[in-house]
């Protein structure tokens, strides 16, 4: 199918270019919709309809245990993940409110480390503060809530408003949270923030509303280079299993024994 790029200005209905005439198009769409209907119903959730997987069975949390992989050698610092997360989860586009963000590390020739994260990296990164000849190495590190297996944030919540689910996701019950912010203080990774509108604590949910339907989190969906890998820590064979098998894995701040479930490959020693 030739793509006459630029020959005409009409790029707003690309599908039309792939079919012969309009009637055939309508038939194709109708057939596709009929075939994809269960798929679409599973994906576009009706609030309160309950989570269903793509094959229509009700979601059973005890059958899963989620984790995530991050390959920093693949991250290009484009910030699509940060943007997708804020869109998907209605996170305010203000400083200091990030479920996920990207950091840039610039290690100079003299060994000094400069770290920055302009607006979380949501619009990419400007040129680094140090020139090429003064840079020994430089890389990006995506960060997010580590959904620790021993979460210190869950330990300190006075009322039981934050908890870890049976499938290993740390969530905040925003109808129950009293807004004391102890969990934000207790997180060693700076993953939590305070939602000033709802006046409760907020954080990355691993896009629980997506993974319960068999989708991947928005940041994983949006990443163009495959730097984020989603899957299960044990039991099922998922992309995460391969990632852990074939890479030397580290976690952030292992000495705190929070047992994070976000596994980093190619994590430089300077990353905190």
């Amino acid at each position: 199918m030739p793509t006459d790029a630029g020959a005409s200005g009409r790029r707003d209905l690309p599908v039309l270019r792939d079919v012969v005439d309009r009637r055939e198009f309508v038939e194709k769409v109708a057939a596709a919709c009929a075939a994809g209907l269960p798929l679409m119903l599973g994906i576009v959730a009706v609030p309160g309809a309950g989570a269903q997987t793509q094959d229509g069975k009700p979601y059973n949390a005890t059958e899963h245990y989620y984790g995530m992989g991050v390959d920093t050698s693949k991250c290009i610092g484009c910030g699509r993940c940060v943007n997708a997360c804020k869109t998907e989860n209605d996170v305010p586009r203000e400083p200091g409110k990030f479920n996920t963000w990207v950091e840039r590390y610039v290690i100079r020739m003299d060994g000094e480390v400069e770290v920055d994260s302009p607006d979380g990296g949501i619009a990419g990164f400007p040129p680094p503060p140090t020139t090429e000849t003064n840079t020994r190495k430089s890389f990006f590190v995506p960060k997010l809530c580590n959904h620790c297996a021993s979460p210190p944030c869950v330990q300190v919540c006075p009322v039981g408003a934050t908890f870890i689910t049976q499938d290993g996701v740390v969530l905040v019950d925003q109808e129950y949270c009293i807004g004391c912010r102890y969990c934000i203080q207790a997180c060693p990774y700076g993953a939590r923030w305070f939602d000033a509108e709802k006046e409760v604590a907020a954080k990355c949910t691993f896009c629980y509303h997506r993974i319960a339907k068999g989708l991947v989190p928005a940041c994983v969906e949006a990443c163009p280079t495959g730097a984020r890998i989603f899957g299960e820590v044990e039991g099922r064979a998922t992309p995460l299993a391969r990632f852990i098998r074939f890479n030397d894995i580290q976690v952030l701040k292992p000495n705190l024994n929070t047992r994070p479930k976000v596994y980093y490959a190619s994590l430089d020693g300077e990353v905190r």
Binding site: V113, G120, K143, C157, C177, R181, G190
Partner: protein
């Protein structure tokens, strides 16, 4: 801001209100420990301050939850701490420790100590005050020697129970900070102990100031042996508190863990005024030297004999400096712990609001409120021995 902070550390989450809460509960615990000196340890000299210390503790305890409620995102859900407390959370202890201390320790002790007088005031008063006093007796109007003896021994047992309760009341606050492994400034075994000891220091200092101010306001003469004893205990408390804080400091420097670089920058920069100047020099060293020289702590005679008027002045100045120092200590812990990034790579600033619910104005109001309540309590339940014979409001 300098260096790198995690994006979510852009704002500080625990403000002046959270500085205020440990300060207020510290005064409660300290005032109560002072009262227990007379009741349990039979330090007769401080008897004139006994009831005043109890009422002070009560006044401050009543105000203590208010900064917490003002800080919460959803204060209307605060009852959840009582109904579904997370047994693993130190903060969840608040519900029980506070309720226990207020109801079982403080209110009961005040009740047992005052009951005989309340019965007398109920009989002597007229109008609505009469009903108020009768309600306060809970109907137990028996003032026979046997009943009074029961009051006295019950009060003593409650005070004995109250001492570890006071330790718990303020110790758990220290544990709230000390148990946060994510924050190297807070995470320390000594935190609950240092909090408690500084609470005792501030409580004794507060009662000293209040005793002097109220006595002078009433035009009575100050009981100098009492005041000297208070100052002496204040000195002892300062010595113990200071020793532990110095130990913590030396220990950190010696171990020199990864956080030492950013914490050094924190102390030399952001916290220099509030820690080095206010907390250490003015709040600890100056009172330590002044009280060490003028109190009877070392030998039957003080190191420097000072006439009564000057000694009173030195005591009250020292006590006020102590208050400033202990408030700074709470500030340095709470705010200081949030001024550096958990990435250990940067520092941020605390922008104090003036108005607004977490602002300076609210803090000042909440600091004055216990004094107002104390004034009301003193009116209702006068702690002065010379007023016991007559009903309050009558001369």
């Amino acid at each position: 801001m300098e260096g790198y902070i995690y994006p979510n550390e852009f704002e500080l989450h625990w403000s002046l209100l959270i500085v205020l809460y440990p300060y207020l509960t510290g005064l409660v615990a300290g005032a109560f420990i002072l009262a227990s000196l007379e009741r349990v340890f039979n330090v007769k000299e401080v008897q004139p301050t006994y009831r005043l210390a109890l009422l002070t503790a009560l006044a401050f305890l009543l105000v203590a939850p208010l900064p917490l409620l003002a800080h919460l995102g959803h204060p209307e859900r605060s009852y959840e701490i009582f109904l579904t407390p997370n047994s693993r959370s130190a903060m969840a202890m608040f519900g029980f420790v506070y309720a226990w201390y207020l109801a079982v320790v403080l209110l009961l002790e005040v009740w047992f100590d005052y009951r005989k007088d309340i019965v007398g005031w109920a009989q002597a008063a007229k109008g609505p005050k009469r009903w108020l006093y009768y309600a306060l007796t809970l109907g137990a109007t028996d003032v026979s020697p046997k009943a009074l003896h029961f009051d006295d021994s019950a009060g003593r047992w409650i005070t004995v129970l109250g001492i570890p309760s006071a330790f718990l009341l303020h110790g758990y606050v220290g544990f709230i900070f000390g148990s946060v492994k994510a924050n190297p400034w807070w995470s320390s075994v000594l935190m609950p102990v240092v909090f408690l000891l500084s609470a005792i220091v501030s409580g004794i200092a507060l009662v000293l100031v209040l005793y002097m101010v109220t006595t002078m306001a009433r035009g009575k003469s100050i009981d100098m042996p009492c005041l000297d004893k208070l100052a002496q205990f204040l000195f002892y408390a300062i010595v113990v508190d200071m020793s532990l804080e110095v130990l913590d400091f030396i220990h950190r420097l010696y171990e020199s863990e990864e956080s030492i670089a950013i914490l050094s920058r924190l102390i030399e920069g952001r916290l220099f005024m509030s820690l080095v100047v206010l907390q250490v020099m003015l709040g600890t060293l100056v009172p330590f030297i002044v009280l060490g020289l003028t109190t009877h702590s070392f030998r039957p005679r003080p190191l420097i004999q000072v006439p009564d008027e000057l000694r009173r002045l030195l005591y009250i100045v020292s006590a006020i400096l102590v208050q400033i120092g202990i408030f700074s200590m709470r500030f340095n812990v709470v705010i200081g712990g949030q001024l550096f990034s958990k990435s250990l790579r940067g520092l941020t600033v605390y922008k104090v609001e003036f108005l607004g619910i977490e602002g300076l104005a609210t803090t000042v109001v909440l600091l004055l409120m216990p004094l107002v309540i104390l004034w009301l309590l003193v009116k209702l339940l006068p702690p002065w021995q010379d007023a016991e014979a007559t009903a309050p409001g009558q001369s």
